[in-house]
C-alpha cells in the first residue's frame, strides 16, 4: 500500500488547520479578547509539551492499527460504536462549518452577483473527488498547494509592514487581567484538532517524530499570531474587533509602490486551498469510519454529506447569525469535544488490548 510521509502530513495540517488558525478563528479571538487576544495566544505555547506528549503516546500506542480496530480492541464494540458516532458527527459539522464560512466569505467579499450554487457545486464535487481518491492524493495535493500559500502569506505579511504600527498591541489588560482568558478556547482549538492525526496514523510511512510534532504545534501557533497581531497593528483593536474577515482585510490593504494594488485576489487561492484540503480530509476520515463497507456505500455517504454541504450554503441563514452561533456555541463546543476525545483516547492507551491479552495468555500456555 502506498503511504504518506511526515512532511506530507505537515503540509496537510498546515493547510487544513492553517485555514482555521489563520483565518476563521481570528474574528472570534479579536471580538472576545480584543487587544489581549495575542497575549493569551502566546500562552498556548506553554501547553505544547503536554499536548505533544499526549499525542505521541496515542500515536505510538495505536501502532499502525486503524482507529476503528484500535477502539474495538481497547473498549469493545459498543463503546467503539458510540465513539465513532460522535466522531462522524464532529467531522460532518467540521465540513459544514468550513463550507458555510467559505461560501459566505466569497459572496460577501467579491462575487456579489454569482449565485452560490455555481460556487458550491464545483467545490463539493472537487472535494468528493479528492476524498474518494484517498489520503495519498490529499497529501500530494496539499504538498503542491502549500508552497504557493506560504509564499503568498509571506508576501502579504512583508508587503504590509509600512502600514503596521505595533504600538497598537499595548497596553495589555485594559479591562482587567482575565478579560481575554476566554480566547484560550479558540486559540487552543487549532492545536486540539491535531488529534485527527490519530485517525490516519496507520497511513504514515515513517514514525512521526516528537520533533515534527513540536514543529507542527509551534507552526500553528505562529500561524495564529501572524494575522492576529497584524490585524491589531493595522486596524487598531476597536476596528479589528468588529471586522468580519480581519485576515482578508489585510490583503485589501496591500499596495506596493504607486501602481500595484487590489491584490486581494491572491487570498482566494489561499482560502480555497485551505478549505479544499480541510473539507476533503474530513470527508475522507468520515469514509474511513465506514471501512468495511463497499465502494458504493462509501460513495453514497460522500454524496450525502456533499448534499448537506450544498444545502447549508444555499439556505438563507444569514452570515451574522452564523457568526454568532459559531462563536458562542460551535467552536467552543468542538474544542471541548476534541479535548474529551483526546482524553478518551489517552485513557485508551493505558488499557491493555484484548488481542494483546489473548496473545499474552497464549504465550503463558505455551
Amino acid at each position: 500500500m502506498k503511504k504518506i510521509s511526515s512532511i506530507q502530513t505537515l503540509s496537510i495540517f498546515f493547510l487544513s488547520i492553517g485555514l482555521l488558525n489563520h483565518v476563521i478563528l481570528i474574528p472570534f479571538l479579536l471580538s472576545t479578547g480584543g487587544r489581549d487576544a495575542w497575549f493569551f495566544s502566546i500562552l498556548t505555547i506553554g501547553l505544547i509539551p503536554i499536548w505533544v506528549y499526549i499525542l505521541s503516546r496515542i500515536i505510538k500506542n495505536m501502532d499502525n492499527q486503524s482507529l476503528t480496530d484500535w477502539l474495538e480492541n481497547r473498549f469493545g464494540k459498543h463503546i467503539k460504536n458510540i465513539a465513532l458516532f460522535f466522531i462522524v458527527i464532529y467531522l460532518i459539522s467540521l465540513v459544514l462549518a468550513t463550507t458555510k464560512e467559505t461560501i459566505d466569505w466569497i459572496t460577501t467579499s467579491f462575487l456579489f452577483e454569482t449565485p452560490s450554487l455555481a460556487i458550491i457545486i464545483p467545490f463539493t464535487l472537487l472535494c468528493i473527488f479528492l476524498a474518494h481518491s484517498g489520503m495519498r492524493s490529499i497529501a500530494i495535493c496539499s504538498s503542491v498547494l502549500l508552497p504557493i500559500v506560504v509564499i503568498l502569506g509571506i508576501f502579504v505579511a512583508t508587503g504590509n509592514i509600512p502600514t503596521k504600527d505595533y504600538s497598537h498591541l499595548l497596553p495589555l489588560f485594559e479591562n482587567g487581567y482575565f478579560h481575554g482568558i476566554k480566547t484560550l478556547q479558540y486559540s487552543g482549538y487549532g492545536l486540539t484538532e491535531l488529534i485527527l492525526i490519530a485517525f490516519f496514523q496507520e497511513k504514515l510511512s515513517d514514525k512521526l517524530k516528537i520533533k515534527v510534532l513540536v514543529f507542527l504545534c509551534l507552526g500553528l501557533v505562529f500561524l495564529l499570531l501572524g494575522p492576529l497581531t497584524a490585524a491589531l497593528a493595522e486596524f487598531g483593536p476597536s476596528l479589528a474587533e468588529v471586522m468580519r474577515y480581519p485576515a482578508y482585510e489585510q490583503w485589501r490593504l496591500l499596495t506596493i509602490g504607486k501602481y500595484i494594488e487590489h491584490t486581494d485576489f491572491f487570498s482566494i487561492y489561499q482560502w480555497l486551498a485551505g478549505a479544499y484540503i480541510r473539507v476533503s480530509m474530513a470527508l475522507f476520515l468520515i469514509m474511513e469510519v465506514f471501512k468495511g463497507k463497499t465502494n458504493n456505500v462509501k460513495l453514497g455517504i460522500l454524496f450525502a454529506v456533499g448534499f448537506l454541504m450544498v444545502v447549508i450554503s444555499i439556505v438563507p441563514f444569514s452570515n451574522f447569525k452564523f457568526l454568532h452561533i459559531s462563536q458562542k456555541f460551535y467552536y467552543p463546543g468542538a474544542f471541548y469535544f476534541l479535548l474529551l476525545l483526546s482524553a478518551f483516547l489517552f485513557i485508551g492507551t493505558f488499557i491493555r488490548s484484548k488481542e494483546g491479552k489473548r496473545h499474552a495468555n497464549e504465550t503463558i500456555q505455551k
Partner: protein, 381 residues
C-alpha cells in the same frame, strides 16, 4: 468511465470558474476617483470626482488640452443616500472600487460621527489604503484642479501626497486605515492633514495655475477636540515622526543664514513622575547635512544652535496645542501605554487633564551633521 468524469469536471470548471456573473467590462463604468464629504443643515453633501477613463494612463503623446473632469454633488441624510442619488443620474454605472482619496470638510470633523468610517469599512469595494484629507476650502474647487501639463487630476497631491512629502516633510499624509485606527485608540491623537490650493505660485504664460498643497492639519483627540493648526505651528511635530524623510531647518548666526536638511529623527518619550503628576522627557536624535553655509563658524556651535532651534520648535508646538486643548505631540498615547494604572485611576479624559504648561520636563536633542554637501565646511570666499 473515470475519464469521462474527469473531462466533465474540467468542462464544468471552465464554465463556472470564469465567473460570468461578476464579470465587469472596464469601458462600461464611470470610475469615481475621489469622494468629498461635507455636512450642512442636517444633511451630508457628497462630492465625487469622475475622471475620463482615457486620461488615467500617462501616454507617450502629451495631451494637448486639459482632460475633462466631472464633479458630482448630491445631498442626503446619509452618505449612502447621497451616493445613491448620484448613481441614479449617471449615464453608465458608477464604480467605487477605484476611489483613492477621501476629503472631509471641517463640519464633518466637528460632528465626530461614526457614519463615514461605517460607510467606508462596510463597503466591500472601497479601500482603506486610500488617502484621506480634511479641507477648509470648497470641494468643488478642489476637485476641479487638473495636474500640471494637462495631466488628469490623478497626478496631483490629492492622489500622491507622498511624492511631495518625501522631499519636504512637514505633515505626514495618512491613509484611511491609519486615520481610523489611530483615532479610535484611547488617549491617542490623530493628525489629519488638510489640503488647500492657491494660484500664486505657478504661471502658465499669463494664466495663473492652480496647485494643491497641504497647508496644515487638524489635530484630533477623539470626541474632545479637533482644532486646526497651520504648518508652521506644527513644525515641532516632524521631529517626533518616524517617517520624516527630508525636512529643512534654517538658523541665523552672525546675521547669516545657515540652512540644513534633516532626516529620519529617532525619538523617545518617557513619562516621569514629579510631585504626583507625570511629566515628559523627550529625546531626539537626528542627523542631517548642511546645504547652505554663508559664514565661518565652528561646526559644534552650529550643531548646538540647531539643537536649540529644534527644541524651540517642539516647545512651541506643544504650547499652541495646550491653548486649544490638543496634544499634537501625542504624549498621551505614551502615558496611556506606559502608565495604564495611573491613567485609569485618575479618570483622565482629555489633553488638559494630563498636560499643563510644565508638562515637558526635559527635551534632549542630539544633532549629527553628516556632511556639508558638495563643498567643504567653510563659506565661499
Amino acid at each position: 468511465m473515470f475519464r469521462i468524469c474527469k473531462i466533465w469536471l474540467t468542462l464544468h470548471l471552465l464554465l463556472f470558474l470564469s465567473g460570468c456573473w461578476d464579470e465587469k467590462t472596464i469601458q462600461d463604468f464611470h470610475y469615481i476617483t475621489a469622494i468629498g464629504i461635507d455636512f450642512k443643515d442636517g444633511e451630508y453633501i457628497v462630492y465625487t470626482q469622475l475622471v475620463d477613463f482615457a486620461a488615467v494612463a500617462k501616454t507617450e503623446a502629451k495631451p494637448t488640452q486639459a482632460p475633462p473632469v466631472y464633479v458630482g454633488k448630491q445631498k442626503g441624510r446619509s452618505i449612502s443616500i447621497a451616493i445613491n442619488k448620484l448613481m441614479r443620474n449617471t449615464q453608465q454605472s458608477l464604480y467605487l472600487g477605484h476611489v483613492s482619496t477621501f476629503v472631509i470638510s471641517e463640519n464633518v470633523l466637528n460632528r465626530q460621527s461614526t457614519e463615514i468610517v461605517d460607510y467606508i469599512y462596510r463597503n466591500q469595494l472601497l479601500r482603506y489604503s486610500s488617502n484621506i484629507f480634511a479641507t477648509k476650502n470648497s470641494m468643488d474647487e478642489l476637485f476641479s484642479i487638473n495636474g500640471f501639463f494637462n495631466l488628469s487630476p490623478l497626478y496631483t497631491t490629492l492622489y500622491f501626497p507622498d511624492d511631495v512629502y518625501r522631499i519636504i516633510s512637514f505633515i505626514q499624509p495618512i491613509t484611511v486605515q491609519r486615520y481610523y485606527s489611530d483615532q479610535r485608540e484611547k488617549a491617542s491623537t490623530t493628525i489629519l492633514p488638510s489640503i488647500s490650493w492657491n494660484d500664486k505660485v505657478w504661471k502658465e504664460k499669463d494664466k495663473k495655475r492652480k496647485s494643491l498643497y497641504m497647508d496644515g492639519a487638524f489635530i484630533i483627540y477623539y470626541k474632545v477636540s479637533q482644532p486646526w493648526f497651520s504648518e508652521k505651528e506644527l513644525s515641532g511635530l516632524r521631529w517626533l515622526t518616524k517617517r520624516t524623510n527630508k525636512t529643512p531647518v534654517n538658523i541665523t548666526m552672525n546675521k547669516q543664514d545657515i540652512y540644513a536638511s534633516f532626516s529620519h529623527p529617532a525619538h523617545k518619550v518617557k513619562p516621569v513622575l514629579k510631585d504626583g503628576k507625570y511629566k515628559f522627557d523627550i529625546e531626539i536624535d537626528v542627523s542631517g547635512k548642511i546645504l547652505g553655509l554663508d559664514t565661518q563658524i565652528d561646526i559644534d556651535k552650529i550643531k548646538r544652535k540647531f539643537e536649540s532651534q529644534i527644541k524651540k520648535e517642539i516647545l512651541s508646538t506643544f504650547k499652541t496645542g495646550l491653548q486649544k486643548n490638543a496634544d499634537p505631540l501625542n504624549l498621551g498615547k505614551t502615558l496611556y501605554i506606559k502608565e495604564l494604572k495611573y491613567w485609569q485611576k485618575n479618570h483622565l479624559k482629555e489633553p488638559k487633564d494630563y498636560l499643563d504648561k510644565d508638562s515637558i520636563h526635559d527635551i534632549n536633542v542630539k544633532v549629527h551633521i553628516l556632511n556639508t554637501g558638495g563643498l567643504e565646511a567653510k563659506p565661499l570666499e
